[in-house]
Symmetry: D2
Subunit: 416 residues, 4 copies
Amino acid sequence: MPEVLFPLDSTKKFTEQVLVGHNRWHPDIPAVATVRPGQSFRVDCREWFDGAIHNDDSADDVRDAPLPIVHALSGPFSVSGAEPGDLLVVDILDVGPIPQETGPLAGQGWGYTGIFPKQNGGGFLTDYFPDAYKAIWDFSGQQATSRHIPGVTFTGMIHPGLMGTAPSAALLAKWNQREGALRATDPDRVPPLSLPPLPDGAILGSLTGADFDRVAAEAARTAPPRENGGNQDIKNMTKGTRVFYPVYVPGANLSLGDLHFSQGDGEITFCGAIEMGGFIDLHVDVIKGGMTTYGVSENAIFLPGNVAPQYSQWLAFSGISVTTDGEQRYLDSQLAFQRACLHAIDYLTKFGYSPEQAYLILGAAPIEGRFSGVVDIPNSCATVYLPTAIFDVDVRPSAAGPTRIKPGASAPKSTF
Amino acid sequence: MPEVLFPLDSTKKFTEQVLVGHNRWHPDIPAVATVRPGQSFRVDCREWFDGAIHNDDSADDVRDAPLPIVHALSGPFSVSGAEPGDLLVVDILDVGPIPQETGPLAGQGWGYTGIFPKQNGGGFLTDYFPDAYKAIWDFSGQQATSRHIPGVTFTGMIHPGLMGTAPSAALLAKWNQREGALRATDPDRVPPLSLPPLPDGAILGSLTGADFDRVAAEAARTAPPRENGGNQDIKNMTKGTRVFYPVYVPGANLSLGDLHFSQGDGEITFCGAIEMGGFIDLHVDVIKGGMTTYGVSENAIFLPGNVAPQYSQWLAFSGISVTTDGEQRYLDSQLAFQRACLHAIDYLTKFGYSPEQAYLILGAAPIEGRFSGVVDIPNSCATVYLPTAIFDVDVRPSAAGPTRIKPGASAPKSTF
Amino acid sequence: MPEVLFPLDSTKKFTEQVLVGHNRWHPDIPAVATVRPGQSFRVDCREWFDGAIHNDDSADDVRDAPLPIVHALSGPFSVSGAEPGDLLVVDILDVGPIPQETGPLAGQGWGYTGIFPKQNGGGFLTDYFPDAYKAIWDFSGQQATSRHIPGVTFTGMIHPGLMGTAPSAALLAKWNQREGALRATDPDRVPPLSLPPLPDGAILGSLTGADFDRVAAEAARTAPPRENGGNQDIKNMTKGTRVFYPVYVPGANLSLGDLHFSQGDGEITFCGAIEMGGFIDLHVDVIKGGMTTYGVSENAIFLPGNVAPQYSQWLAFSGISVTTDGEQRYLDSQLAFQRACLHAIDYLTKFGYSPEQAYLILGAAPIEGRFSGVVDIPNSCATVYLPTAIFDVDVRPSAAGPTRIKPGASAPKSTF
Amino acid sequence: MPEVLFPLDSTKKFTEQVLVGHNRWHPDIPAVATVRPGQSFRVDCREWFDGAIHNDDSADDVRDAPLPIVHALSGPFSVSGAEPGDLLVVDILDVGPIPQETGPLAGQGWGYTGIFPKQNGGGFLTDYFPDAYKAIWDFSGQQATSRHIPGVTFTGMIHPGLMGTAPSAALLAKWNQREGALRATDPDRVPPLSLPPLPDGAILGSLTGADFDRVAAEAARTAPPRENGGNQDIKNMTKGTRVFYPVYVPGANLSLGDLHFSQGDGEITFCGAIEMGGFIDLHVDVIKGGMTTYGVSENAIFLPGNVAPQYSQWLAFSGISVTTDGEQRYLDSQLAFQRACLHAIDYLTKFGYSPEQAYLILGAAPIEGRFSGVVDIPNSCATVYLPTAIFDVDVRPSAAGPTRIKPGASAPKSTF
């Protein structure tokens, strides 16, 4: 096991640890450690809400989830010799849940998926699912099941939802400018068009005083993926993956977190993955001048690992860029994927799932979401693939009609 | 080999065959044959431009491609007993190129991929690639190579780009209404926002006279995918696939065409697949009342076959919903996928490919395009995966830098 | 489609064709055609018994199968420039059943699997299955089903069971010597220990007269695999495979045949594959001096294609090298694999299959047979893996007990 | 993490632990714990030689390896309610190396593969490799590399080499009888034909005194796989696998050990896997009367997990049942597999590996060993498949000839 450079004590808050991480992007957040190219090291990760979501049967904690404090990130790790213009090579050697006893922190043998309410985060289908719901998943080795969603078992593809290098001051400024400009077009929208810097709740490592205040006022929120990688939520970035990140600041300043036991493409319920804390073993290297050599000036490129669970039969749904109200949109894959997901949800209700349970399955299980035709005006076509083997019953269409799951279990909904 | 219900003579035009197909969607196009549930049959298919694109080194034919005549569709096939509300079950038993001698028709041992010019069809990246280009691919059994794109070989996933049932009159009216409404918002746009009915070039099976004129004036173009399936361009709909289509008219009236030897997710160069004529063996069945039973009132659902070529190493690129001009868009997966594709193209140029060659590879090779994060405001994240084994050289990033392909070959560009 | 260098007319016997192949190995059998390195060409293949086995419900044809006439091989093809010491590179571009109408010849939409009687060929488990049985399989595109074995459907992995280069005179003499020496140890055994040259039934291409008689007296039977490749029955040698054969005579003299629609590892019922006639498209090349360069002086090496059907769930059985009478043998993987297969057969009978049906399934379906421990004295361990998805019922063990298939169908048994 | 029912302290010998396991099979070895059907629990496992093999550059420890003390097994675990005639259902929830700091015990970040000398264990090719060699493998997350074998990296398929239920007294007697009878046919053979009970070195859990002596005199060695499962060395029995074992004694008395980080089919160097200590999480259940219901009276059946590393390109070698001296044997798959492995070894030496390095690779890497033709008298055909991606250089044959690995590293050989 490689040396633990960023340990977390599961009994303490994220801010009470020996080393304190961060939950904003800024070039001036100090590194917690320096590693050399070729070094392997272990990093503990806290689940993104730092313990605010509980292993119980109420969704009130999802309803009230403290978005200002996300994401609890481990790092930054400075890589000696890395300079702007280089590519940082990050190998995910291993990643898993907290390897200690069962406990109250997500990752301690369990994780959660939430449907976030429209008032607090929303999600891919928030217009159809405006309320808060939760599902708790129990881990049994590599597999997940939920007492809130009967008849589903799948193998986890554990991965960090969020990993990236620190932005330069110029890049950060660009983010704040362009996201602010978008927000200004409809400043009162719910959910908002983008999230401004938010000093409230900011955690900035060892920064204090005036430095803290300055950085907190400028630092970018961690929700969106950006040029530095960030919250890409790519389910295939699992064990054995090699990622190449652009380097924007001396030392690269790599940070990561938001571990998922499993996730469907899109992470569609916003907190669509199975969220957990855990550990990740990394190996880093540097390709000098790689950004120019390979034309990678922004957004990670990567070689996924070769150990994803294999499913050989899939049930696929398609959607096009027409709204549920019948309005035609122009080549809109975002909408087409929404429609494909809604079709899958409608379908699963015929087997006895509630719409919310079906939505939670799509968020958490290893579904594949693919771009199909994207050029045939005016309709984009998107497809979503469900592995049939994750269901206890046969979910394929047949003349005999659907077999219904055992009734009883339901996903908790928040009160108001 | 099942009985050939729709034969095509490769030496004759699509309109000069014993049975004439169609290139518009309309409920009143007469069926060319009636099949019973449980029946297997073979259908010949003509490449979508009916021979207008040639196996040569000029892209002028792509520049001038006769869009009004697409897609040359085989059918409709009426399925006895199928009624509106049923699901039509279509098994793709086999599909392949024209199994005769080498010749001048795409499918006769070769196929083509075109970058369509902005003035005539455009494509996913038409703002960056406004001119016409072409690549000819030669088939060697299951594999494709191109004299216009060196150093690339891949295994075909042969599939019909277009298959679907006839719309009802009401559904057709809805299409015309909504697509017209969109077009009306910017009627002079190039490329247009949608395509109106177009009597010019219409082929409507055995219809003649006043019936022909009436139907030609109403019938929908075949380019976009819609509720009836249609031009979905799903590369995984290959041999062994079972598709379930909604039935909107008595007999279902299944039509199909636009065979592809291979295609990347998205078919991004518009004519991004390797286009060809060929044959397809189908088996049909009916699930009575299946649209209600399974909640499938629109858009095909399907079980992909299990014989796709296996690639175990992929090089992936990511993109977010920020334009190349730096403008922030809100959760736009269409844009994010464009950016991911542009990143892949930039990358491949470092190995010696021209941007157009790289664009053509992404259209034709079995690349995977996936939705990654779609909920993290304001950025959607999309990813595109290239199988590394299709390249003769090692395309993975390394400290040694890229190995350049042999120079020389180039993709033909049209004159002006 | 490449040029057909060896055409077969399905309405005529193998010996009545324009070009006549052969059914023995000998360096002096003249080539039917000469091809150059880099050339692609099509070869028609006759099923191994040249039409003696019929699409009916009697196994008498299997009981009386004319073993002296096997295998009907297409070739030899001389490769210009190939010399002893080279490696012949053979790409299997495509392979499939006879692409014409349904008919009485195996390959014309159907194929067969036989359990050969102990008196006429025997098989892997002939001591347990001494009588003749037959199953007819119908092809539906890529898939096979049998009216004699209910509840099983699988995707074919079409491949040539037999392909190889001609032996040199010295190599042929070695074969005859060593196989004769083995036979001499128990000359009256049934089945025999090996098969001597047999002029009766020999087909030797264009040879006639004294040459025919001399070669017929010396030529080796084609049943066993040997240094030149030959009847290896490797189910993974399917489309996209590249094989490297040692060259023993000028021109290499490649021959092939014994096409299988599908086969389980081991081809355990002797005629365990689904036998058929068909076509194969080949591309050949030469690595000069490759036998020494790569240390490949005997037995083919190969790169399997990447389009095998994918199954992600398997039910596996194990066996050890103890006989059914309880006798301990020393590290005998042949016996261990027999025991594993017998365990699989016993198991399948609990679901309603007859032992013969189960045996036929193991021969014809894409089962995997693997060496497990081979070093732990005194027991070798072998394992056999059945893809669960080929069965209509769930064949996994459970507390509920096995679901029995619908009774009725049975595999025909020969009369006596 | 499930409760640890069998903990091991890495700083202490196997016999000095709080709970002591065993290294022989006997029905009277007392259970270390009782579990109930439906229970999950963790078991620590010691590497099979209990620390006798070191992380150094000498193979003397392999030469002198204390075979009488193998295998260090954890257990037995009694399952409440399990009775003879039942099937014990064992799910492998998780399995991995010792999850603590780096240290001197195999599993603490490293493992070993040995070629055992003919005088002390031997191996599959001991007639060709009579001396002792060793390779140390370092674990980097899921991947293994060796300072003794350059240019090879592969993903581990961690699995228990040995797992099984206790034999009944009658079954044990049968083992001793049949193995003794075999041994009696050539009692002085080196290596021996089988291993008799051996009180020297026996570890029998909590047994003492006369009970110890009686059991030690009767108990079976653990090297061979037998009816109860045992040392099957099945590389696919990894995470997610469900195994069904016959139950021969009340409580079933499950034991296990011999963890492997990786192994090739056959484990051909005897200690061919990468040996290590570690942990395994199990879930057990019982199918009452399952042995009769499913016809499984001996030898485990299992459903492999779905998370094995995926390799899509393989280089395969074939062999037939002719000895290297040219003697023809009758349908001997053991010999055919030896010849296939020897061909692979010869081939790899052309790339710069020593024969011993190649042999060690075949033992430790995830190679596949398959039965090909097993019925074509007199030759069995066996094939061995190497994933090409595990090598740093391209190991496919080409006209350019082999690329040699960097010289320097070698596998340590023992002194004499």
